[in-house]
């Protein structure tokens, strides 16, 4: 082999993602955290998989949502399973909360980035522990922060403006779901990798529930959708 250029031998590094999930949206609401994700797994421009669960529980107090490479998310789930297992094995009444999980994942993502072998994901971690709500995100290069509302991927451009306008500290569960659905509908119209099958997860002090998959009602008779290319130059 070409040992001069690749002296590490078989270099197995993530160069680009293959099967990807699109945006995750998370918000804090009155009783905890709400997170929404659709169930699509795209293979480039093909919508290949339509039942991918991108929201998962982590231990007693946390919920993680992932966009980006699905196989890397599965790898992250294995890391988290091991982390939670060791945490439980102490059997001492202490447990890792969402803040600890978030920081652990930040370390993992940043270290992989430094090795030029990133886990190609944007992660959203949310949860409630001892009455404290927590919502944070980590990117594939280790950029991490906490906020009252988080979105990844296209959600950054299409959902966050809505959240900035309409999010409030004391949203009820129903209001929170409506807000998430508004963002998800917008993404459905405008993000080509979005699919109309989504799950919403709720995590509170009591625990986690992930909804059954369901679809949003859409409306295609907007005037702008009729004859969209009328008046556009060079279109046919």
């Amino acid at each position: 082999m070409d040992t001069l250029l690749s002296s590490e031998g078989d270099s197995q590094r993530t160069q680009y993602p293959y099967v990807t999930g699109t945006s995750i949206i998370g918000i804090k609401y009155k009783d905890g955290i709400l997170m929404a994700a659709d169930m699509g797994g795209s293979y480039g421009s093909t919508i290949r998989y339509k039942s991918v669960e991108r929201l998962k529980q982590v231990g007693k107090h946390s919920l993680i949502g992932a966009s980006g490479e699905i196989s890397d998310f599965q790898e992250i789930q294995k890391y988290l399973d091991e982390l939670i297992l060791h945490d439980n094995m102490w059997d001492d009444g202490n447990s890792l909360g969402p803040k600890e999980v978030h920081n652990y994942l930040t370390r993992v993502m940043y270290n992989r980035r430094n090795k030029f072998d990133p886990l190609w994901n944007s992660l959203v971690i949310g949860g409630v522990k001892n009455g404290q709500k927590y919502l944070g995100s980590v990117s594939m290069i280790g950029v991490h922060f906490e906020d009252d509302h988080i979105a990844t991927g296209f959600g950054n451009h299409l959902a966050r403006p809505i959240l900035r306008e309409e999010w409030r500290e004391d949203l009820s569960f129903e209001e929170g779901v409506k807000l998430l659905e508004k963002c998800m509908r917008n993404l459905l119209y405008r993000d080509r990798s979005a699919v109309n099958k989504l799950q919403i997860a709720k995590i509170t002090e009591e625990g986690l529930t992930v909804s059954q998959p369901y679809s949003l009602k859409t409306f295609w008779n907007f005037a702008a959708f009729q004859n969209p290319t009328v008046g556009a130059e060079g279109s046919w």
């Binding site: 001492d92 009444g93 202490n94 909360g97 600890e100 920081n103 652990y104 001892n130």
Partner: protein
Amino acid sequence: MFRNQYDTDVTTWSPAGRLFQVEYAMEAVKQGSAAIGLRSNTHAVLACVNKANSELSSHQRKIFKVDDHIGVAIAGLTADGRVLSRYMRSECINYGYTYESPLPVGRLVVQLADKAQVCTQRSWKRPYGVGLLVAGLDESGAHLYYNCPSGNYFEYQAFAIGSRSQAAKTYLERKFEKFPESSRDELIKDALFAIRETLQGEKLTSSVCTVAVVGVGEAFNILDQATVQALINEFEISSEEAPAAATAAEEAAGDAAADQGGAAAEEEAAPMDI
């Protein structure tokens, strides 16, 4: 405990099922100067007797801050104690770096105990000759643990180790039931009284003792000499007129006998069984 043919190696059992080298290590703890710890639901206090070798030298450091929420007092081979404190600090820092969260005291104590156990099962090592009183705060409240050279650890409401610690233990046994609800200042007062017990009549001043506190809203800190002396004066502990004095004098005679008795009886239960 006299010399016998089973005490050369830490990896040699005696026919009675004892590891003499480990027990000798625990003797080293008993020879060190006293350290005591006590806790309430919200605070933990460590105090120790600081004897300098001569008037020319400084006191030996026996209390170490491990993290904002954990501190340790040692008795025995202080060099071993220093090294273990460094290990504890390292563990706390690494945990804090990864999880942005303080290491739960109970987990640190188990790691410390496992580290001590290794030295009881390797022929090329020797047990650490230091007992550690670990005081800390975590989600479930204030904690006090005692880590032994044998690798055992126990949680306590109050405890004392080192020479003449029995006198302090007797005092603490009388008072411990009210500790959970005690205020921070009451705990410190009881700590100073307990230290005074171990001095056996010598005058208690802030130059012979060190006091440290950790609690809800208070990071682990060692009180400075002036503050300690002010507390001693306030509680009038230095003189013998304090209420504990009368009973303490009788018990001191009995306790001294108990200390010798424990050392001489080699056919009784092994110290590690406590």
